[in-house]
């Protein structure tokens, strides 16, 4: 972990209230550059709320979310308008329930992701309408980038099919490819392995690792422990909107508080319950 010194995302004292409900309470954590940080927790722990705050769909009631680029520029995500979080701060996300443009082809989905750069190349449609070559060139480059990600996600053969026609696993991968086409510094994945079979899950691990190798940091919410334990460098555990653990995967899996949260019992009873269900996680 040579890069542990440079954080890419710092969440500081973030609180999100919905009326009287505190969905996330005073959460602070750091995601480091070039690492995969996993955000886990039982159902209703507030993981997706954290995601929505980071990606601008909610404004946190309190706290600060700072994103650092390698060049040194900082972005306070809670202050940026929704679309600027992707375009300026370079944070991309996927959704728990897949949100593809189902009536558009796979390739079109990937080109929509490159909207802003293409928009500039087309002179905000002016050059494009006149058919100037600058735009044609930019579109060819955009298609080349799309092809690169199609190849990486194994979807090249389906490029001209409507996205809504793809099988579930392909749709998940397409959503990741689409997010990657926005050249993100931080990629946030909301349950990327949900609904995948073990083989697809394994492919996903390879894909995520290769995205990390290309220099994009990842933040992922996941229930599938095989994904979390295998590929994440760092795990943050939430329970009832509060952070209960923040460490490397190996130490998180043996943390009695985490196990208690997942089993839904008090800390002191963990030993008993584990014996009952035959679990021997606490080595």
């Amino acid at each position: 972990m040579a890069s542990s010194a440079t954080p890419v995302l710092e969440v500081q004292h973030m609180t999100m209230r919905f009326g009287g409900l505190v969905a996330v309470g005073d959460l602070s954590f750091t995601a480091r550059r070039g690492e995969i940080t996993a955000l886990i927790g039982p159902n209703g722990a507030g993981k997706t709320t954290v995601f929505n705050c980071i990606t601008g769909f909610y404004r946190p009631t309190e706290g600060m979310i700072r994103l650092r680029h390698e060049g040194g520029s900082d972005y306070l995500l809670e202050r940026l308008p929704g679309h600027a979080i992707n375009w300026k701060a370079k944070v991309a996300r996927t959704f728990q329930n897949i949100r593809l443009f189902s009536g558009m082809t796979v390739l079109e989905n990937l080109l929509v992701a490159q909207h802003n750069s293409l928009m500039i190349a087309s002179g905000f449609s002016l050059f494009g309408i006149l058919g100037l070559p600058t735009y044609e060139k930019a579109q060819r480059a955009a298609i080349a980038k799309a092809e690169y990600w199609l190849d990486k996600t194994g979807l090249t053969a389906r490029a001209d099919d409507p996205a809504g026609d793809l099988p579930y696993g392909d749709q998940r991968r397409l959503e990741i490819a689409r997010a990657m086409c926005t050249d993100p510094v931080l990629l946030c994945l909301d349950e990327p392995a949900a609904g995948l079979n073990p083989r697809e899950s394994l492919e996903l691990n390879t894909l995520l690792s290769s995205i990390r190798a290309e220099g994009t940091s990842l933040l992922l919410i996941e229930h599938d422990m095989s994904v979390v334990m295998e590929i994440s460098d760092h795990v943050v555990v939430l329970d009832y909107g509060v952070k209960i653990a923040d460490a490397a995967p190996a130490s998180v899996r043996s943390d009695p508080r985490v196990i208690a949260a997942y089993l839904g019992v008090e800390d002191e009873e963990v030993g008993e319950v584990e014996a009952e269900v035959g679990l021997e996680l606490t080595s």
């Binding site: 009536g103 909207h115 409507p162």
Partner: protein
């Protein structure tokens, strides 16, 4: 009517006799329903008596013919074992993978590629064909006027298609921009004496400005709420036109709007007129034919720009917005600006069409811009298939040309009696056509979507997958 069209169940075991019985029964039932419907609609008619008062005339013969026709048609359908309501096919039932190669989708796609040049060719040759067929310039006037009317609606349909079909924003007040365009030309030309060719772009720009003005407050709204606000906007514009008498002339409208010129040469009978300069015999039809080609050119420009925009990032963003607004935001698309451009560009074409309307009529009043116009244009877009250019053109021809066709069905008098005027049944037939469309083509005439960019193989996308937008 839904009960009446419940299909007879053909089964091998029942045999022919049973099926005939079934068909007879359902035909009798349909005839009964028709009787129930036709008694209040067709039976009674008020006529002026010789004494000057109104008397009721009973038309049992007409009711009987209507019931007989329904009975015969239903019986024929029942005996043929046909189903009136096609089996519903869901995307899941057909299997996810086959949708792209759906034969219906592919045939619609082929139709669109072959029909487009054909339509343009026919549209260009139309005045010549009419004049040759009718044997003179003046005799073809009715048909060329009709062509101008249809093309105006084609253009309006294409303009609204940007907002409703591509961006998926339901706009019930599109006629407001038509009105803005018409009044812009009328006021600019009568007040400042500006020519049509200067006013045309100005009218487009003004309409686009109004589109943005409407866009700002409605950006947060979706679905029904958006529809209501746009409807209100259309009415507000109309009411302003009626009540701001000092500027707009109120309900009396604006008259003696300067006529169109042939790029500066007026269509007048004197030496300097179009006919005089080109050594032709003067005919008022020159202006009409010029207007026809003018609206054809404007409509084709609308189409060309729309097709171009669809292949540009802004067009793709419109369609993406129709598919999923939240995903758009997560990809860094400024949804506010994207919606505003859709409103503005749609409104701009409405404005162009409006100033054409003003220059053609020479007189405009708020009466021409009521809600029914908006509804007609929206119906053209929806019937044509949202987002399909060729579908909108076909729907405009059917919606505007269809009722005109009714005027020319003299032979029906032989069936229904001398006093029968098919034109009276315009709205009834319109409703019937709507019901049939809902049953057979709920997504419009052309429901397939053509991809805007292709890597290897061009495949059209079935309408089942394409979303209609949030409102």
């Amino acid at each position: 009517m839904a009960v009446a069209s419940t299909p007879a169940l053909p089964s091998d075991r029942e045999g022919v006799a049973a099926r005939a019985g079934q068909a007879l029964k359902s035909a009798a039932f349909s005839a009964l329903v028709m009787f129930g419907l036709s008694v209040p609609i067709l039976l009674l008619r008020t006529e002026q008596s010789d004494a000057g008062g109104l008397i009721l005339v009973q038309r049992w013969g007409l009711v009987a013919s209507a019931c007989a026709i329904v009975f015969a048609v239903r019986l024929a359908v029942g005996l043929a074992g046909g189903r009136i309501v096609p089996r519903r096919q869901t995307a899941q039932a057909r299997g996810a993978v086959t949708t792209a190669a759906d034969p219906a989708a592919q045939s619609g796609f082929r139709l669109a590629t072959i029909a487009a040049p054909l339509f343009v060719g026919v549209a260009i040759a139309f005045p010549v064909m009419i004049i040759l067929a009718k044997g003179g310039l003046n005799e073809g006037r009715y048909w060329i006027d009709l062509g101008i009317l249809i093309l105006t609606y084609v253009m309006l349909g294409w303009g609204l298609n940007i907002v409703v079909g591509l961006a998926g924003l339901l706009d019930l007040g599109y006629v407001a921009f038509y009105a803005v365009g018409a009044y812009s030309y009328a006021l600019l030309s009568t007040t400042f004496g500006l020519s049509f060719w200067i006013c045309l772009p100005l009218a487009g720009i003004l309409a686009a400005l109004w589109g943005i003005l409407l866009g700002f407050p409605v950006l947060r709204l979706r679905g029904d709420y958006l529809a209501i606000v746009t409807l209100a906007f259309g009415e507000i514009i109309r009411l302003v036109l009626i009540n701001w008498v000092d500027v707009t002339g109120g309900g009396a409208g604006i008259s003696s709007i300067p006529r169109v010129t042939f790029f500066g040469i007026p269509f007048t009978a004197d030496e300097d007129g179009f006919a005089g300069r080109f050594g032709l015999d003067f005919s008022p039809m020159h202006r009409i034919i010029f207007l026809y080609y003018l609206i054809l050119a404007l409509a084709l420009v609308t189409n060309l720009v729309t097709m171009r925009l669809r292949r540009l990032p802004v067009g793709r963003a419109w369609e993406a917005l129709r598919e999923d607004e939240i995903a758009c935001r997560s990809l860094g698309i400024n949804t506010t600006n994207t919606k505003l451009t859709a409103f503005a560009i749609g409104a701009m074409f409405g404005g162009f069409a409006g100033s054409f309307f003003a220059v053609r009529q020479g007189f405009i009043s708020p009466e021409s811009f009521n809600f029914l116009e908006s509804a007609t244009i929206l119906a053209i877009v929806v019937l044509g298939g949202m987002g399909s250019q060729i579908g909108v053109a076909i729907a405009a021809i059917a919606m505007i040309g269809g009722p005109e066709l009714l005027r020319n069905l003299g032979f029906l008098k032989a069936v229904f009696g001398e006093g029968f005027d098919p034109n009276e049944y315009r709205l009834l037939l319109f409703g019937l056509a709507m019901v049939l469309m809902m049953i057979w083509r709920p997504r419009g005439l052309i429901s397939v979507r053509e991809p805007s960019v292709v890597l290897k193989e061009r495949k059209s996308i079935s309408g089942d997958l394409v979303k209609e937008g949030h409102g």
